[in-house]
Symmetry: C2
Subunit: 343 residues, 2 copies
DNA sequence: ATTGCCTTCTGAAACGATTTAGCTTATCTT
DNA sequence: AAGATAAGCTAAATCGTTTCAGAAGGCAAT
């Protein structure tokens, strides 16, 4: 890696040919342009000797492509997104793309401004975990046929390629499971807000409860006051003021918050309350007892998201939007085992 | 965001001036170049109306700067690195830089190739968590005066700017603490390999043990076989074959691995064995009992790392290397409370 | 009227790679 | 030998921005 980068021109003069020829050879288009065997080899050898590295900016300026893709997640410190990011990075790098990413904290202002930054940085496409008002930027980008793929959450009314979990099915299945285990007072706990994946999970829960003729108990806490809300909610349960024998936490950060409180209040799991969460993680496994959860096919989600993006990147004309829906698997542990005395 | 990006030339013709003037105005150099007030305002207005966004590639080609920085961490799915990454991203964005990052898995081949990719992508500087053989690339980059900052781990024999934890002090302090709590058979457990931060922690442990006339017990497991090794190690403890009453895990992933085994083998903490780890995290807190740990000043590390990089980026002549050493704080919980019956 | 000196602005080159159109040769055809 | 064809190569334009040298015009001093 010599300090001063070598340009195509220097190789050209070292090889005694024109810079056009060097460019052609180095792009593997020697045959196509009918470059002689001898010249081709000479250029290749010299380029190797001088350790030529193309100038990305120049190439990008000329071609209009940066080979950069943007990835916007809610929070990279959340293991779910971290794993997703790693998979996407892996796919990208295997396909000659580099990833720029950032966290939105599910704040639409931040998300919008970061998307804008990405576009300005000249990324060729974006993969994003949208939040409530992403819709605006997304719509604009979509309208311009800017390559865009949404993951994890959806806007059903828009034609944007997305990779999604079958959230309704997951919500339904775990609720069914708890009911089969003898639980009757199952509460669904989520942050407030209208994120589509949470909505799907909620609908699945509701359908299951209705199908079994049980009363729905839905609790939604604002992210800002979740600590306080969860605490008083759980203490109501512990005092018997809220008749709840099982909790479904709608996502992993909320589950973790819940676990802290449950431990603090010394609620017994599953005797006082059974638990089911989403996404898993070390904290789920190491809790006593381990927490049951819905496992999302993260690797597959990352792979698919990148595939969908690639399709748009490589295509010459605009591609129709595609929605991929994946199924989750389930990890059943003692936190949701059958009620003592049931069956 | 109109589809076709507007160029400076179009603004120029719309405003009836030359593109040079537009460039000057848009870069806030109107005064400096003595551009008239009227022309300045006209250009600004038109640029706003046409929603001008500079072409990063063209600017980068011309200036040789990309305003991109590279960040290489060991594993972005590790909360420690994720938090560090977020802080660096925050600093960068506040200073007009965008971050590209990737995970090396502490694999020097991957790290080297990613660093190379970053350089080829034209990043202006790199912040990296080095691993054992990073030294080669780092040395090359350093030699070329390429802006580089290392974090978390060090090569004392090289003049490279770094942000480090006072690992020896941390190792020493927690060992002292355990000894004061009545523990005498304290084992230090780490992955094999020669990473400087682990080394520092080990030295601190050793100094403390020696100062108290205790026998050092050092166990190092290869990452590949850690599951098996830890299992047999802990079972030896549980059977009394290994006389160990406290464990210091040298980093967070190893601690987590240990916790899984400890739970599986039903070792009582701290009755059978006391625990101390590094970095913390939800899993530490939610374990029963919560695990004591050394808390690194992650935010400060990120801030400092970016500062050091900025110094190099902004400077016109090469800057001398700077090493920043930070102190950690400690979270003492029941996993390391005084031995039953001690004092 | 010439000179010099501002002030305000422009032309053109440069960054490095890609690509199109077209220029030399050499060889083949008739 | 003249013309056609092909093979192998090059000049030059282009992408959008920045910057430097200097042009144009006005004005004052000589």
């Amino acid at each position: 890696m010599p300090r001063k980068k070598v340009s195509i021109k220097e190789i050209a003069s070292a090889a005694g040919v024109s810079s056009a020829l060097v460019s052609m050879v180095l792009n593997g288009k020697a045959k196509q342009y009918g470059i002689g065997e001898e010249a081709t080899q000479r250029v290749l050898r010299i380029a190797r000797e001088m350790n030529y590295q193309p100038n990305i900016m120049a190439r990008g300026l000329r071609s209009g492509k940066s080979h950069l893709i943007g990835l916007v997640v809610a929070d990279i410190a959340n293991p779910f997104f971290a794993k997703l990011a790693r998979e996407i990075e892996k796919q990208a790098s295997a396909n000659g793309y580099t990833v720029i990413y950032g966290s939105s904290d599910d704040n639409s202002r931040r998300l919008n401004s970061f998307m804008q930054t990405l576009v300005n940085q000249g990324v060729d496409g974006i993969i994003a975990i949208p939040c409530e008002d992403t819709i605006k930027v997304a719509a604009e980008l979509q309208e311009q046929k800017f390559p865009l793929v949404l993951v994890d959450r959806d806007y059903t009314d828009m034609e944007i390629s997305s990779v999604l979990l079958d959230n309704e099915q997951a919500g339904r299945q775990i609720t069914d499971y708890l009911i089969a285990g003898g639980y009757r007072h199952i509460a669904f706990v989520a942050y407030s807000g209208d994120l589509s994946h949470i909505h799907g999970r909620l609908v699945g829960y509701q359908k299951s409860m209705q199908a079994h003729g049980l009363t729905e108990k839905i609790y939604r806490f604002s992210k800002e006051e979740s600590q306080v809300s969860i605490r008083s909610f759980l203490s109501a349960i512990s005092l018997g003021d809220e008749k709840v024998d099982a909790l479904i936490f709608a996502n992993n950060t909320l589950t973790i918050e819940g676990l802290y409180m449950i431990r603090e209040m010394r609620l017994r799991v599953p005797e006082d309350v059974a638990l089911f969460g989403f996404d898993g993680g070390n904290a789920f496994d190491l809790f006593t007892p381990p927490v049951s959860y819905v496992r999302q096919p993260i690797t597959e989600m990352g792979r698919q998201a990148f595939q969908l993006l690639m399709k748009q990147l490589e295509a010459t004309e605009p591609q129709p939007a595609e929605k991929v829906v994946l199924q989750s698997s389930f990890v059943y542990t003692d936190s949701s085992k059958s009620r003592p005395g049931h069956k």
